[in-house]
């Protein structure tokens, strides 16, 4: 136990310092590297901002792992996770710099997900959703790859306003860390804590007004990490813990619910409107809050608040209902919040229209 505390402190310390240094350095030279996000039509920010957060987070994490010798352990026990993260990191940074075609990026994501699935980390059961429990191998592969890719992309999409991706990442990573400690997955635990430290340092420069962004390099890696860690923990838990006492089973979907439901809702909306699901528009949850006049800070805090609320609701409800209905309830709660927001925005627009109509005709 003592050595564990020592390890964590060492890792976090190292990751924060390394991360901080990386941020300071990279901010200065980001222009020469070409990693700058210029404001554009569908962007929310007004000034060009260096997109170096991802590099900083990874650098910090690696530094933390190296100083505690956990890097070796990680490469030995979870090679697919480490390899996938690094590969996605390179992909993401390349996309930030050179704008890779979306299909290549998707291919690489699928590849990383396949790598993880092949290494044994798979979703093996649907735990009663739609009446399905254990699945056959092909099903496991397909589902795992789809889920990992989906979550990675969902997290990438939710990186839309200052502090949001970082905030959600900290909430999720710390919760995953607690779960991994509880399930005695110490290698994963140290990895998650270290990453938390690095994200924390990043957040200090990312809250509104943001001085750096995490870019695809950051969000893809974090999303991937959360997805794989989650799947691994649920699988481990299934071996040792009874369904009724399960915690990872309900908490992992709960913490991933918000980004995933949001992307699904946005895709569905775009399809319903007759366009492609990948065309850009401003219908994400954070856009809805901005449309209501929320500031970046308020919107980020509110969305993180909703995230915590969903997790709490899931914990509470799971005592009373089974897994399937817990999921249904959370989806409904999320959709309710969104309709309320959209309704209020529409209401505000109509108030303006009526005010005009009421002035002397």
């Amino acid at each position: 136990m003592n050595s564990m505390i020592y390890t964590i402190l060492q890792a976090m310390f190292a990751s924060m310092i390394a991360g901080g240094l990386a941020i300071a350095l990279l901010r200065k030279y980001s222009r020469y590297i070409g990693l700058i996000d210029k404001p554009g039509k569908r962007k929310v920010h007004q000034q060009p901002v260096p997109v170096v957060g991802g590099i900083a987070i990874i650098t910090g994490t690696i530094a933390g792992l190296l100083t505690t010798h956990h890097a070796n352990l990680l490469l030995q026990t979870l090679p697919a996770l480490a390899g996938g993260c690094l590969l996605l990191f390179v992909t993401g940074v390349s996309d930030d710099r050179f704008n890779i075609k979306p299909r290549y990026r998707l291919l690489l994501q699928l590849g990383c997900a396949a790598l993880v699935a092949a290494s044994g980390i798979r979703i093996t059961s649907l735990f009663g959703v739609l009446g399905i429990d254990e699945m056959n191998t092909i099903g496991q592969y397909i589902l795992t790859i789809v889920v990992i890719t989906g979550v990675t992309n969902a997290f990438n999409l939710i990186d839309g306003i200052d502090g949001l991706a970082g905030g959600l990442a900290i909430i999720n990573l710390s919760l995953l860390a607690v779960l991994s400690y509880w399930l005695q997955q110490y290698v994963l635990f140290v990895l998650l804590i270290t990453t938390c430290g690095a994200v924390f340092i990043f957040l200090r420069s990312n809250v509104h007004p943001a001085r750096i962004f995490m870019g695809d390099g950051g969000s893809l890696v974090l999303g991937f990490l959360m997805a794989v860690a989650g799947i691994l923990l649920v699988k481990e838990e299934q071996l040792y813990v009874r369904r009724e006492d399960a915690r990872a089973l309900v908490l992992v979907p709960a913490m991933l619910a918000l980004p995933v439901f949001d992307s699904l809702r946005v895709y569905a909306g775009r399809l319903l409107r007759g366009g492609s699901p990948f065309q850009a528009d401003k219908t994400h949850l954070h856009h809805l809050f901005l449309g209501l006049g929320f500031t970046h800070r308020k919107a980020t805090m509110t969305i993180c608040g909703i995230q915590v609320l969903l997790i709490l609701i899931a914990m509470l409800v799971f005592r009373m209902m089974d897994f399937q209905w817990t999921m249904v309830l959370m989806a409904s709660a999320y959709l309710l919040i969104c309709s309320f927001l959209k309704g209020y925005i529409s209401l505000q627009k109509w108030t303006q229209t009526i005010r005009k109509m009421e002035g002397v005709n």
């Binding site: 309704g343 209020y344 109509w350 009526i354 109509m357 009421e358 002035g359 002397v360 005709n361």
Partner: protein
């Protein structure tokens, strides 16, 4: 004709009417249409004591619910009334949109007819919080979309529903002939000493939307002109602070609500000017009542008031406007204004006219006519055909709600 068609009136605070436009409307409909239809009116139990709860009023049946008709309880109040009425009425006349969430189900599963009266544009009012506004805004949509006919009490509101829902609302206003021109007796003059001299008058709920602060501000600068204002001052922070601020002035007389119709008519009918500050809510019963009594009107300049007074009254936007108009208008001009108001009210705002409109609407709804669309049928004729008939100018008709 076998038995009379049954109408249920839902959403009022009970009859006999004590307070409020919907209640007076319900009472008058019972008086006027009670012979032709079998009417049931739903009332809030808590508002009446055991002795006061009659089972019928004139020819109408009264049903009591153990809920308040206003505020948050209006949702279950309206909903339960609708559910009960589904079993005992042919046409449901729902006043207010609190129970509108039930209407899609009613339209889908039953063959009862629904007429909804949207009471002004409720969701816009500052007195509601965000959650209430969202609910009312959605409920209004449900009410208009899933009713067989909807009623606006003002043309400006008809414009709004035309733009938002592309369907035509029926305009039915309020009657005012239940008010009586009362000559004050000596006893009245004793009770209300201001009856001896000319005074301007205003009666309304004390809310910021009724621009009471503007009127009080204006009269505070005109010590030579008296103002008598009746309202529920103590009910709100806004009211009590205004009361404290202005009750000290000699020419401003602030009174608590007067529920006796005769007393109200004495005070109101003998004013030389009626000031109407409402900025929301369509056709206001207090305004049409003042018009009926032949009072000259000085109203807040908003589309609803202009429509109600047919543009023939005096209008103000600021406190300075009030002072300017009152100070500079000759009494003769005001009197003429009053005659014009009286003419309008006697033509449009009598319960006979209103009840006849309701009667026609009920008949229309019972005969299954759908809602009238806002775009004229000319719009469906293809352009080439119009051109071939030399009627190309009908291609893009201006909708009625676009005022130039």
């Amino acid at each position: 004709m076998s038995r009379k068609k049954r109408i249920a009136i839902i959403g009022t605070a009970g009859i006999p009417a004590r307070y409020g436009g919907f209640e007076t409307l319900a009472e008058q409909l019972v008086r006027q249409l009670g012979d032709k239809y079998a009417i049931t009116v739903y009332c809030p139990g808590p508002k009446y004591t055991k002795e006061e709860r009659k089972t019928s009023f004139q020819s109408a049946r009264l049903k009591y619910l153990p809920l308040q008709a206003n505020g948050l309880q209006s949702i279950p109040y309206d909903s339960l009334s609708i559910l009960h009425a589904l079993f005992s009425a042919d046409v449901l006349l729902v006043l207010g949109v609190a129970g509108a969430w039930l209407l899609p189900f009613v339209k889908l599963f039953t063959r009862k007819k629904i007429i909804v009266s949207i009471d002004g544009i409720e969701w816009k009012r500052a007195k509601w919080n965000r959650l209430a506004k969202c609910y009312l805004w959605w409920a209004e949509k449900m009410a208009v979309k899933y009713s067989h006919a909807d009623i606006s009490d003002n043309e400006s509101i008809q414009d709004y529903t035309a733009v938002r829902y592309t369907s035509l609302s029926h305009i039915i206003e309020y009657g005012a002939d239940h008010t009586v021109q009362v000559t004050p007796t000596a006893k009245d003059k004793e009770e209300y000493p201001f009856l001896h001299k000319p005074y301007a008058f205003k009666v309304c709920r004390i809310e910021p939307e009724n621009n009471i602060h503007l009127v009080l501000e204006a009269f505070a600068t005109m010590p030579g002109y008296t103002l008598v204002m009746i309202g529920n001052w103590k009910n709100s922070e806004y009211g009590s602070s205004l009361y404290l601020q202005y009750s000290g002035y000699n020419n401003i007389i602030l009174m608590d609500p007067v529920y006796d119709q005769r007393k109200l008519d004495v005070i109101r009918g003998n004013a030389y000017l009626y000031v109407h500050g409402h900025s929301a809510g369509g056709t206001n019963p207090s305004l049409v009542e003042a018009m009926y009594l032949g009072l000259p009107v000085l109203a807040f300049d908003v589309s609803y008031n202009r429509t109600t007074t047919e543009g023939k009254a005096c209008y103000f936007k600021t406190a300075a406007d009030i002072a300017a108009i009152i100070g500079n208008t000759r009494l003769a001009v005001l009197r003429e204004n009053g005659f014009r108001m009286k003419e309008i009210a006697h033509r449009r705002y009598t319960w006979e006219v209103v009840a006849r409109k309701y009667d026609e609407l009920v008949q229309r709804v019972l005969n299954n006519k759908g809602k009238i669309p806002v775009t004229p049928s000319v719009a469906t004729i293809p352009a080439e055909q119009l051109i071939s008939y030399e009627l190309a100018h009908l291609q893009a008709p201006t909708p009625f709600y676009e005022k130039r």
